[in-house]
Assembly symmetry: C2
Homo-oligomer: 395 residues x 2
């Protein structure tokens, strides 16, 4: 067991029509001039943006808006938000959307708190943030967990680099979670979200250092819940209870709770996928599903007992006569692939619809190794040559 | 499933020698003049108080101290702390101790933020708090969960009334949790703590309204963990890993996490025990163990499926042929009693060592009914006559 800090100060307001409280909440946290940041047309078409603006108006809060955030959000949009916020004296950033919009909002908030320096330096890891404007979200996609996390991932569209920056300064003040807002999401997005949610906890579960029984119990319970309700939503996408289970799981999977007492997590699958996302612009969760089984088969021998425990407690694999620990671990990975297939998620890059060349694989591995300073992983430490092997296994 | 808010902003600093960071943490949260509040001699004898003061000195923070907080902390000590704090211009309250000390610190912090009004009015529920000075803790007993909760229980020693006040204003800024600090606790205190920890989650689990699968999974995992490590500590009290599991469980059991999506919880067992604590000054957790089995047998038919689920998932009761749901529920309650006995906890008031007279039972029930405005409970709503019956069952 490792020492740890746990810090998740975000106030969660969860339930039907919760977005109607947004004006009062911004006011409670001292916001007077708000940048309303969002993605595409769906927030407009659904009427959500209007409801948010009405609530802000009712609370007497000035607001200016900026849409157009794309998945794998771009640095250029961040710079646009910074410029607009400066022009209007914005003091609070409100993200209306999913992880991409919240991540873009976090980057804008960092930039506004330190206007002297280029915000990309945070993502290039050449300096740490000095501050961050207060920010919050009205969540519309359950996946990234950015609504409670200290993480933020931005893509520099000029260089193709997709980089993360983690800092508690960017923990959002509040998160409004109305599961109804996710009910119209296409199944592919919903299921990609479920994969991402699980992976945030699996990255913390498969570590080769110490662990805590309580953390493992919480992680396993969360994973079983997501598996159960991902399948429900695949059949019945408007099921409110299932939407609610998945939405709350998205926050708890990535707010630090499921990592207490471990060594910070593995996160190799995430970093491997980041390169795929940077090069091919794939949906993040689907990309994770395409790489995880190969990662798992590459590393499981280093962390055999946890893969056995995972098979038993999460995937429900029952040990039959003569099954070795290795058989159990592999059966757990296969069961995970079966689950991915059951919700129409890929288990390799070919099923994901991307076919990187040998050269592109070498480039992704080199970029990944560069981004992490040589090696990644806890379950097994991976160097550039390991990354190449995993990408090839995942073709 | 009910709508909910979740808000647990306390920064947890968990691990060996974590108390050495207290000075820096107080500074981070803006404290300049600190009241160090503690209980008996053990914090002095163990050297903990000296280490805390050294850390405050090193950070250049003024401090004044007040010890002598007793279990079921007294209003008189709160008033003493308020007076002392006013004399020294205190702006931050640091509790060094367990739930009683933290609760006393919360009451002092409420009083200092509103010096015009009597703080007991909060506990008498005649008004709400306007503010609360920042407070934090160095935790030495895993039990009450007060280190992350919004709850606070004070006893008016002049009237014998023991009353709770809940308000997010009193959520502590940080909690320093070094499991080593609990290693010398007598077994009776340790096990009473384990009972209390479980009960904070059980109060939220046995509700008759909606529920959330994710919350149930987290609750069940937490309860299994406490059962496992309470037994370990009964045999091996200095086991660091077990102390750590129990300590972290104490916070998560009462910070709101295990109640998300339910109707706020039952809390009848707690309120019934509060009257026993007010009249007889029993150890809180042991008092809960003495009343819960009787409460459970009185209410289980109203909430049968949850009692069956509890028996299966928490107590590990296996359904044998011909066992009805009622048999399962009762087997779960009996298994809980076996667990209490295995850690030398009582299952009724006689084993607890108190023998209230008929008159005293009527007085406790009347006081409880008065305190809650007539009735309590969610699993089953209890009126004064129900409380009398449960107290008599628990003799």
């Amino acid at each position: 067991m490792f020492d740890f800090q746990y810090y998740a100060p975000t106030r969660v307001v969860f339930g039907k029509e919760a977005e109607m409280q947004v004006g009062d909440l911004v006011k409670m946290y001292g916001g007077n001039r708000v940048l309303v940041h969002f993605g595409g047309q769906s927030a407009i078409r659904s009427g959500l943006l209007d409801r948010v603006k009405e609530s802000l108006d009712a609370a007497g809060i000035f607001h200016v808006e900026l849409g157009g955030v794309v998945p794998n959000p771009h640095l250029g949009k961040v710079r646009e938000g910074v410029q607009l916020s400066k022009e209007h004296g914005v003091d609070f950033i409100l993200a209306v959307g999913g992880g991409s919009v919240i991540d873009s909002a976090k980057a804008i908030a960092y930039a506004l708190a330190d206007p002297e320096n280029d915000v990309w330096e945070l993502f290039a890891h050449t300096r740490n943030a000095k501050g961050c404007l207060p920010l919050a979200s009205v969540l519309t996609i359950a996946a990234a967990g950015s609504e409670m996390s200290n993480s933020c991932v931005i893509t520099n569209e000029l260089t193709g680099e997709k980089r993360a920056y983690d800092d508690d300064l960017s923990r959002p003040k509040f998160a409004i979670m109305n599961p109804q807002l996710t009910a119209t999401l296409p199944d592919y997005q919903t299921q990609s979200g479920c994969v991402d949610i699980m992976m945030h906890t699996m990255e913390r579960y498969f570590t080769n250092g110490g662990n805590m029984e309580l953390t493992d119990e919480l992680a396993e319970g969360l994973l079983r819940t997501v598996i159960k309700y991902a399948k429900v939503l695949h059949e019945d996408p408007e099921n409110y209870e299932a939407r609610a289970e998945i939405m709350w799981a998205s926050s708890l999977a990535h707010n630090g709770l499921t990592g207490c007492g471990n060594d910070g997590g593995d996160f190799a699958s995430h970093l491997l996928e980041h390169e795929m996302g940077g090069m091919f612009d794939v949906t993040h969760g689907a990309g994770l599903a395409a790489v995880w089984p190969s990662w798992a088969r590459y590393v499981y021998k280093e962390d055999l007992h946890r893969f056995v425990r995972y098979a038993e407690k999460v995937m429900g694999v029952v040990r039959e006569d003569q099954m070795t620990d290795e058989d159990m671990a592999l059966a757990g990975i296969a069961a995970m692939e079966d689950f991915y297939h059951s919700i129409d998620m890929p288990v390799n890059m070919s099923e994901l619809g991307i076919h990187p060349t040998e050269e592109q694989i070498l480039e992704m591995a080199a970029s990944c190794a560069r981004a992490v300073g040589g090696c990644i992983g806890s379950a097994k430490v991976l160097h550039e040559e390991d990354m190449i092997k995993i990408y090839k296994m995942a073709l």
